[in-house]
């Protein structure tokens, strides 16, 4: 029987390249003797690789991980692999890779649609917003009112960076289980004289977007939107935080990716509240909106 606490401590140090020779020997001994330890070791290191991939994909929103692009480019150009990437100066490295990715896109145009289909599964986390140093959700999409939404991107155009509006459209187009729901007031009417909006959510992909329109009444930086998802599972209803969205603008349209804090088994209702930053609990009643009556 393995001591899981000791194993996890060693796994952590192994993953962070901090094992002493003695600790390395202990870890190897555990792994040699226990199949369960090896299973947990694989799981932990797979997780480590996945986090590295997320970081890689988040720092460069193209679809292929850097090493894959480098490797494939080697084939295309018959040049040696760019093994020294991690030791190159960061800015130069990023610039080089982005240019080369454009070449890849040209080179692989015929395969683009297949790429998108395959890679979309493993890079879903790209859809989360980036955060600024102050921890706020960065402004992601801005489009003045009256300008039509961009068309649904076709497969070829999907290999370039998509705007948040395009990703929303892509989710609607690509997922059969997408709920499309309009924000309504508590008494069931469409919200009047205040923010309007809608929400799309895919349970299968556990992702969605909240769209707020007509932010005419908003005083910038004085209130934030919070989405709550009322879901249910076998143990009953649960209220899940769908994300806090600081609104730092007063007009136009804002599309925000929903960030559920946990898995949403079966959404029953989405509620948007508006309050001042810091959460003093004083909701702006006219903007307390909710949706129910689910169904695609």
């Amino acid at each position: 029987m393995i001591d899981r606490q000791v194993l996890f401590e060693l796994l952590q140090r192994h993953a962070d390249d901090m094992l002493t020779p003695e600790q390395s020997a202990s870890l190897q001994e555990m792994l040699r003797n226990d199949v369960e330890a090896r299973r947990l070791f694989r799981s932990y290191l797979e997780l480590d690789a996945a986090l590295a991939r997320i970081s890689d994909s988040a720092s460069d929103l193209d679809v292929l991980p850097a090493w894959a692009v480098d490797g494939i480019l080697v084939q295309a150009s018959s040049q040696p692999p760019a093994y020294a990437r991690s030791s190159e100066p960061k800015s130069e490295s990023v610039g080089t890779i982005q240019v080369r990715r454009r070449e890849v896109i040209a080179w692989m145009t015929a395969a683009a649609c297949l790429l998108v289909a395959g890679l979309s599964l493993s890079f879903r986390l790209q859809d989360s917003p980036r955060q600024g140093a102050d921890g706020r959700v960065a402004k992601i999409a801005e489009r003045p009112q009256g300008i039509p939404a961009p068309p649904v991107p076709d497969a070829k155009s999907s290999v370039v960076n998509l705007t948040i509006a395009e990703r929303r459209e892509q989710l609607i187009a690509s997922s059969s289980d997408v709920l499309q729901l309009r924000l309504v007031s508590e008494n069931g009417d469409a919200v009047a004289n205040e923010s309007d909006g809608d929400l799309v959510w895919s349970s299968g992909r556990q992702m969605g977007y909240l769209r707020l329109r007509g932010l005419t009444g908003n005083v910038p930086v004085q209130r934030q939107y919070q989405l709550w998802i009322v879901g249910s599972d076998v143990s009953g209803n649960e209220i899940i935080n769908g994300g806090i969205f600081p609104v730092d603008r007063s007009t136009g349209e804002l599309i925000l990716p929903i960030q559920a804090s946990q898995f949403v088994y079966q959404p029953k209702m989405f509620v948007v509240t508006v309050e001042s930053p810091g959460g003093d609990g004083n909701l702006t009643a006219s903007l307390l909106t909710k949706m129910d009556g689910l169904g695609p």
Binding site: F8, Q28, Y44, S55, L114, S261
Partner: protein, 176 residues
């Protein structure tokens, strides 16, 4: 590029895209450092493409790709045999063989995907910073007003929470 070659490209990219996470995770479990895994993967993707003509489409691409990756990892590690972090070869072979045959891998990766969605924004921010290529924990910790050790602990807690989530998910499916 003629049509046959184009078709071959498509097949390769489709299969590779579907199994890239599995192969990367497999490689990572055999090399001491995550930078090593990225380096080996560059070579693996080249070799996979070179050998793709030999690949029988009726076979399991993941197993085939991990088999190829196994040789690349061993070749990579032989050059670093004196590195104190490299495991002995018999253990590496055991880990590699079990990794290739592990039939729960797909379910585990699906659970991982699910659990990753639950990362809180602040946890995600830490992970992105710490795992960025060339990241220096000392600098990140300093920027966050933490000691490097406390940042390592936070990272460990995040990874443990994710691992626990994966195990729980697998347990619900009777696979843990």
């Amino acid at each position: 590029m003629d049509q046959v070659e184009q078709q071959r490209h498509r097949q390769f990219l489709r299969l590779f895209a579907s199994h890239e996470a599995a192969v990367h995770g497999f490689v990572r479990s055999l090399v001491p450092r995550r930078e090593d895994a990225s380096e080996v993967m560059q070579e693996v993707v080249v070799v996979l493409w070179e050998k793709f003509e030999e690949f029988d489409l009726a076979r399991d691409f993941r197993k085939w790709a991990c088999g190829v990756a196994r040789f690349e990892v061993l070749a990579f590690l032989r050059d670093r045999a004196r590195d104190r972090h490299v495991f002995d070869e018999s253990l590496l072979l055991t880990l590699a063989d079990e990794g290739i045959e592990d039939s729960t891998g797909e379910t585990r990766r699906a659970a991982l995907e699910e659990c990753l969605q639950k990362l809180l924004p602040r946890q995600r921010e830490i992970v992105l910073a710490a795992y960025e290529s060339g990241a220096q924990i000392d600098k990140i910790a300093n920027q966050r007003g933490q000691t490097p050790m406390s940042l390592y602990k936070v990272l460990h807690r995040i990874r443990l929470a994710l691992l626990e989530c994966i195990e729980k998910t697998l347990g619900m499916e009777g696979l843990a």
